[in-house]
């Protein structure tokens, strides 16, 4: 297997139906065996470049291109199989039901003889350290394992170029470490050229020897050795939303809200058992705790430990399987204390939930209407609704997208939109499930500032997160959920 050489000459790509070129006039040469970290703000066309290099950006009906993009001197579109692409979403990539078959899938498509496929499968699984039987169901792997499976599936094709598109954005810290180690080992063995896109530079900085930065319009902004680029372009990179390895975050002092507000619970759980299915097994049981009014509570814990289920239960969306969740009289405002028994429109003005996957919450055709969904359900007057929507469009920097279809927004924009939709009805309690998942630094800072303002303004915040920086910024009260239950990991004295 030879490492591949990438050459872009004045290359650009525009998706069908868009005015703006995702990438424009890109000149870039990546020599065989180089390891490149590709950075840039969201919407800079990083994913488009990776897809184009993998030959899967689509044909003429999906967009138009200018200039040339070559792999070893051939057009990238004609060299499919030379480059192996791993995407962000671990759910989307397992094609077959069993681990061994899934890794073999790429080899089959490339026409590798059967006798050669299985040794390659074993080798690829070994390279990513995925030590499960070949017949193991892909559905039963953790997020980190699934991403390693995706990498193994690509490695078995023996690509000369490994393309990783935010491969760790959806993983917990353990998953990130697993994937990082797997990629390091694979590169050591194969010597393949690497291009990785990732906002969190620290994950990859030790592995790469070159950093390429694109600007918002998809043009080359900086290119060179990591240290040099980080030193010269610090300001531009930070505005672009990149997390530099040593960049200090603006200092967020721990204390939020007043001591008086913290001493008063807004939600109280007693002997709570949570689960997705009414009659199913609880994911976690025997949880008793308070959520203080006018303060921030962060719930942390591993992937799969039941944090999201707990959040949805606190949000009044899932009924407790046992025990109770009760709202304070100030929150219930005359209703029964159990939030899951409130009507949907009653819940709307009391507890707002921001979902992990914004796409699940989208219901309208334009960003403007999307923010107004709750206000319409509450039968707010036109003038009142318009004023509130304008305010939120402005506050969450969505004004220029007011008439765009919500589904066409970038990940960061969708996240901001889902927050705006919840804030519209002014609920005093906000439940957020992994609000910073896969966000670039700019969106992250914006969200953190906004959420801190809300707490300072008297809202109670309950966030589920395993983002260490987020936990630090909202460290009033940190609860850790694990197999044994819920523990207080940190708390500012009331």
């Amino acid at each position: 297997m030879r490492p591949a050489r990438v050459e872009a000459r004045g290359w650009g790509w525009r998706h069908t139906g868009r005015l703006r070129w995702a990438l424009d006039g890109l000149d870039l040469v990546i020599e065989p065996g180089e390891r490149v970290l590709l950075l840039g703000p969201s919407g800079a066309g990083k994913s488009t470049l990776l897809a184009a290099l993998a030959g899967v950006v689509g044909g003429e009906e999906e967009g138009e291109q200018h200039g040339s993009l070559g792999l070893d001197g051939r057009p990238a579109a004609a060299a499919r199989g030379r480059a192996g692409l791993v995407l962000q979403d671990p759910d989307a990539q397992a094609v077959l039901a069993r681990v061994g078959d899934d890794v073999a899938f790429g080899c089959e498509n490339l026409g590798v003889p059967r006798a050669e496929i299985w040794p390659r499968v074993a080798e690829a699984l070994d390279a990513v350290g995925l030590d499960v039987p070949l017949a193991h169901p892909t559905a039963r792997l953790s997020g980190g394992q699934r991403q390693r499976l995706a990498i193994a599936g690509v490695l078995a094709m023996r690509p000369g170029l490994l393309l990783l598109d935010e491969p760790t954005a959806n993983l917990d810290p353990e998953g990130v470490a697993e994937v990082r180690a797997a990629v390091g080992r694979a590169l050591e063995r194969t010597g393949a050229t690497l291009v990785v896109v990732e906002h969190r530079v620290s994950t990859w900085v030790d592995l790469v020897d070159r950093v390429v930065v694109l600007d918002h319009d998809g043009r080359l902004l900086a290119d060179g050795a990591p240290d040099a680029v980080f030193a010269q372009q610090r300001a531009a990179l930070e505005t672009a939303g990149v997390w530099l390895p040593d960049a200090a975050l603006p200092l967020f002092d721990g204390e939020l809200g007043s001591a008086a507000a913290r001493s008063e619970p807004v939600l109280t759980a007693a002997g709570l058992a949570v689960g997705r299915e009414r009659r199913g097994e609880p994911v976690r049981a025997g949880l008793s705790f308070d959520i203080p009014a006018g303060a921030s509570t962060v719930i942390t814990g591993r992937n799969g430990v039941g944090k999201s289920t707990l959040a949805l239960t606190l949000g009044g969306l899932l009924a407790p399987l046992a025990g109770r969740v009760e709202a304070s009289p100030a929150l219930a405002r005359g209703l029964v204390p159990e939030p899951h028994r409130w009507r949907s429109t009653q819940l709307l003005t009391r507890i707002g939930t921001v979902f992990q996957e914004p796409e699940h919450t989208l219901v309208a055709r334009t960003v403007r209407d999307e923010i107004g969904v709750g206000l319409r359900a509450l039968r707010a007057s036109r003038a009142e609704a318009d004023a509130r929507i304008d305010e939120l469009l402005d506050r969450l920097h969505l004004g220029h997208l007011a008439h765009a279809n919500p589904f066409t927004l970038s990940g960061g924009e969708k996240r901001r939109l889902s927050v705006a939709g919840v804030l519209a009805a002014r609920p005093p309690v906000l439940v957020l499930d992994e609000p910073t998942f896969g966000q670039d630094r700019a969106t992250w800072l914006e969200l953190v500032r906004l959420l801190r303002e809300l707490v300072a303004g008297g809202s109670a915040l309950v966030s589920v997160s395993h983002d260490a920086d987020f936990v630090r910024a909202f460290g009033d009260r940190v609860l850790r959920l694990d197999e044994a239950g819920l523990h207080i990991a940190a708390e500012v004295a009331a």
């Binding site: 995407l87 990539q93 397992a94 077959l96 073999a104 498509n109 026409g111 949907s344 919450t361 989208l362």
Partner: protein
């Protein structure tokens, strides 16, 4: 059951077709009985247990007699009448029909369930592509798509919660269902597109018209046991039809 279990999934499909087709075309208690009895005898001889049969086929075991009861009470009256009140006439003819319907449902259902039980989707796809020579892209696309079903069920649940959170949970259930069906369709397309991209990135469909160059990691083979399975199925069907013809009870559905 090892004979069935180790047979190629394509053979199992074919055997089920062979044994049930004559029953779909005829309606008589004699051939149904003969086929059902032979089937059960063979399946029990091959190691099927009553417990296993009940576990996989209990809805059928309950439904088949119920179908018969309908026929017994309301079937076209003919021959001697044993009881009647209002629209109900239990006659020799309706008893015969009821028996035939119940037996036929069992004789069609049991082998289908037993033969399909535990068929591995990947192996079936291998067989359909390699042995039946269905187009590989079609077979693999379908195989990959069925994996999306689980994800879409999870999407649906999550969207139900999201609608409640957004103040849309109180609207009329039918309207909400329609709205969500559309939204889940949009998500299904997006998930499908993502999966298609992931498959293309692994070289799927890269060869254009040059289909011959795809290889298969798992060989799908036919062996002696596949021949046996088909031959047995054919023999069972032929015996049933033969006896029906011989004693004159055979009745084609179109005659």
């Amino acid at each position: 059951m090892r004979l069935v279990g180790r047979a190629n999934p394509v053979t199992r499909l074919a055997a089920a077709v062979v044994v049930t087709t004559p029953l779909l075309l005829t309606l008589d208690w004699a051939s149904s009985t003969v086929i059902l009895v032979t089937e059960l005898a063979l399946l029990f001889a091959a190691g099927l247990t009553v417990g296993a049969l009940w576990r996989s086929a209990w809805p059928l075991l309950i439904a088949a007699p119920l179908a018969g009861v309908g026929m017994l009470l309301y079937g076209t009256p003919s021959g001697r009448e044993y009881a009647s009140f209002w629209l109900v006439h239990i006659t020799a003819g309706s008893i015969g029909l009821a028996l035939a319907i119940s037996l036929r449902a069992l004789a069609i259902g049991i082998p289908s369930i037993v033969l399909f039980r535990g068929v591995d989707a990947t192996e079936l796809a291998d067989g359909l592509a390699q042995r039946v020579h269905l187009p590989a892209d079609f077979v693999l696309g379908t195989l990959a798509a069925q994996r999306l079903v689980g994800l879409l069920i999870a999407d649906w649940r999550q969207m139900t919660l999201a609608r409640r959170a957004r103040g849309l949970g109180d609207v009329w259930a039918v309207k909400r269902f329609l709205g969500m069906s559309f939204a889940v369709l949009v998500l299904a397309i997006r998930r499908g597109t993502k999966l298609a991209t992931a498959m293309e990135a692994r070289g799927f469909g890269a060869h254009g018209t040059d289909r011959g160059s795809r290889t298969w990691a798992r060989a799908s083979t036919f062996g002696a046991r596949d021949a046996w399975l088909i031959a047995t199925a054919a023999a069972v069907a032929a015996t049933g039809l033969g006896i029906g013809l011989a004693i004159g009870t055979l009745h084609w559905v179109w005659s």
